[in-house]
């Protein structure tokens, strides 16, 4: 393993997802993730609702009907985006969250003190606190497997190659070709999500091919890492702090 190792990630092509949830199961098995409750939601075939401390892959099911009455069923396996500019990593006060040599973002559970700051910082709602444990948990992009040259459990288990693992540059090329093919076939709704290094998180390490607007899948349409404005925030705080000192000083002028 050297510093020249390419950044790896996921390309999740939802146009071939069949909603089998093999990724969810493989993830839980390999990473020994506890159960995420036994709630019946009535959201089509989805009972895990979204990503969290105990759901690191989440398959969304969206049922849509055209005015003609035709049913369209969208299925998509969501995962941590392993952002280029990762808010969770930026705000972690302990250094528990770190960037691996593969360009992924991982929590060191022996360091996390459960401050919970990463959770509202994530613009995708990925990382969360595990109840009864107190620490923050999320997808590691199977750091134990990828650092040993294997693919993550979800990608290996996916029977349709909806989840593809590999060097990010290769995945981006493959995804662009896939969109072209789909557009040629008349699937003009196909669009990539999170692949652009120019987006609000500097590009996601895990990006997607979607068939409808991001928010339909529970994804933010234009996420921006909150720390982009951190400099402006500190400047405002400094001005407010100076104002506070000035007000206090002024209050001692005069008698009484």
């Amino acid at each position: 393993m050297t510093a020249t190792q390419p950044r790896v990630g996921f390309f999740t092509d939802t146009s071939v997802c069949i909603g089998c949830k093999a990724c969810e199961v493989a993830c839980k098995e390999w990473n020994q993730v506890p159960d995420d409750g036994f709630r019946f939601t009535g959201y089509s075939y989805d009972n895990t609702v979204g990503l969290g401390a105990d759901t690191w892959r989440h398959v969304a099911f969206i049922e849509q009907t055209a005015p003609s009455g035709d049913l369209r069923w969208l299925m998509a396996s969501d995962v941590c985006k392993h952002c280029t500019e990762a808010a969770c990593l930026d705000v972690c006060p302990t250094g528990s969250l770190f960037r691996t040599e593969l360009g992924t973002v991982v929590v060191q559970e022996d360091v996390c003190n459960g401050c919970g700051y990463c959770i509202p910082a994530c613009p995708f709602g990925v990382i969360d606190q595990r109840k009864g444990d107190g620490r923050a948990w999320k997808c590691t992009l199977c750091y134990d497997r990828t650092s040993a040259g294997q693919e993550p459990a979800c990608a290996q288990a996916c029977p349709t190659d909806s989840i593809q693992f590999g060097p990010l540059d290769e995945l981006r090329e493959r995804a662009a070709r896939r969109v072209e093919v789909l557009h040629e076939r008349g699937v003009t709704d196909a669009r990539l999500y999170g692949e652009s290094p120019d987006d609000g998180v500097g590009g996601a390490g895990a990006f997607f091919l979607l068939l409808d607007d991001a928010e339909v899948y529970g994804l933010p349409p234009d996420p921006v890492v909150p720390t982009r404005r951190l400099g402006a925030m500190w400047r405002r705080a400094a001005v407010a702090g100076v104002a506070m000192v000035a007000a206090a000083a002024a209050s001692f002028l005069g008698g009484g």
Binding site: T94, I119, V216, A248, A250
Partner: protein, 321 residues
């Protein structure tokens, strides 16, 4: 969602979402731990500024009592912070790194620096020992006070929670004003005979806070709903009523100690209400997918005209049940 099987033939007024589920994972910080931590940090900061002023102007009673108040408040704040951690036994991990990109890290170092000097200032003042060191500690605590009062605003604003993040311009002024007003109220309670500066500071601090809240709510537009409705709305309204009552009462209570003390309590309560209000507004904002999706969708270019989409025009089918 949840409007039966009806199909919409007009553009959606509300942004689309995944079964109305939140996009974000909301703050897991506990109530009352974190609002109390925000409140007490502000009280400590304001008290340290009053203590320094009292020392410089020869107000011995005000100085001593505000220093003890600052120490008690920062102690309470630290206890609330540690209690809120998922792994309280690992609280020292906060000091493993010095990380400017993390307001929580910066805040931990501010607390770590402020706590001991506030303690030294109070100890010297109460015991009369090491007056020189006591003066230096008092000055040190006052120097750190503005950072202590305002870093928590950056802490909240540096999240993806729309009602916090989009309020990043005003929140530091809300928190600085709230902290100064609360500390002034406490000073009137503790040292009414020497609290004239605190009475003046209370009025100015309330004004700053009130203007900042007003501007924040106006600039947030639809996101201001989080501050105006539900539990957050009740807290914010209580704060807005209590603060001017407190300011008036501490002015009116110069000769009537009971009225002054009630005003001091009202100022403390107002600050506490504002902190709970801001905190609850963030929770409500994170839970509402429309607040996350709406502003983001609005800043994106319009999707292509329907003519370029030859496929069937699809509509969301509402969630069963």
């Amino acid at each position: 969602m949840g409007r039966g099987g009806e199909q919409r033939m007009v553009p959606r007024a509300e942004p689309r979402s995944y079964y109305g589920e939140p996009v974000l994972n909301g703050p897991v910080w506990k109530v009352p731990d974190v609002p109390a931590y925000l409140f007490l940090g502000g009280v400590a900061a304001g008290s340290s500024l009053l203590a320094a002023g009292a020392d410089l102007t020869g107000r011995a009673v005000l100085g001593r009592r505000t220093k003890v108040a600052a120490l008690a408040a920062i102690g309470g704040s630290a206890v609330a912070l540690v209690h809120d951690l998922g792994r309280p036994s690992r609280f020292l991990n906060m000091l493993r790194t010095f990380k400017p990109t993390s307001p929580m890290s910066m805040g931990s170092w501010i607390l770590a620096a402020y706590g001991p000097v506030a303690g030294a200032a109070a100890a010297s003042s109460v015991t009369g020992l090491a007056p020189g060191a006591g003066r230096a500690a008092t000055a040190g605590a006052a120097a750190l006070a503005p950072a202590l009062a305002t870093y928590t605003a950056v802490l909240l604003a540096d999240t993806a929670v729309p009602a916090w993040h989009e309020a990043h311009r005003e929140l530091p002024f809300v928190f600085a004003g709230s902290g100064a007003a609360a500390a002034s109220g406490l000073a009137v309670l503790l040292a009414p005979g020497e609290a004239e500066p605190a009475r003046r500071l209370a009025a100015v601090a309330w004004l700053v806070e009130a203007v900042a809240v007003e501007r924040m709510e106006r600039r947030l537009g639809p996101l201001a709903r989080s501050y105006g409705s539900g539990r957050a709305g009740r807290w914010m309204r209580a704060g807005k009523v209590l603060a001017p009552v407190g300011v008036t009462a501490v002015q009116a209570g110069r000769r009537r100690r009971g009225v002054g003390a009630a005003g001091g309590l009202a100022l403390l309560a107002a600050s506490l209400c504002t902190r709970f209000g801001v905190f609850e507004a963030g929770r409500a904002s994170a839970a509402d997918p429309a607040q996350t999706v709406g502003p983001q969708r609005a800043r994106l270019p319009e999707p292509d005209a329907p003519a370029t989409h030859p496929g069937p025009q699809v509509h969301d089918r509402d969630a069963p049940g």
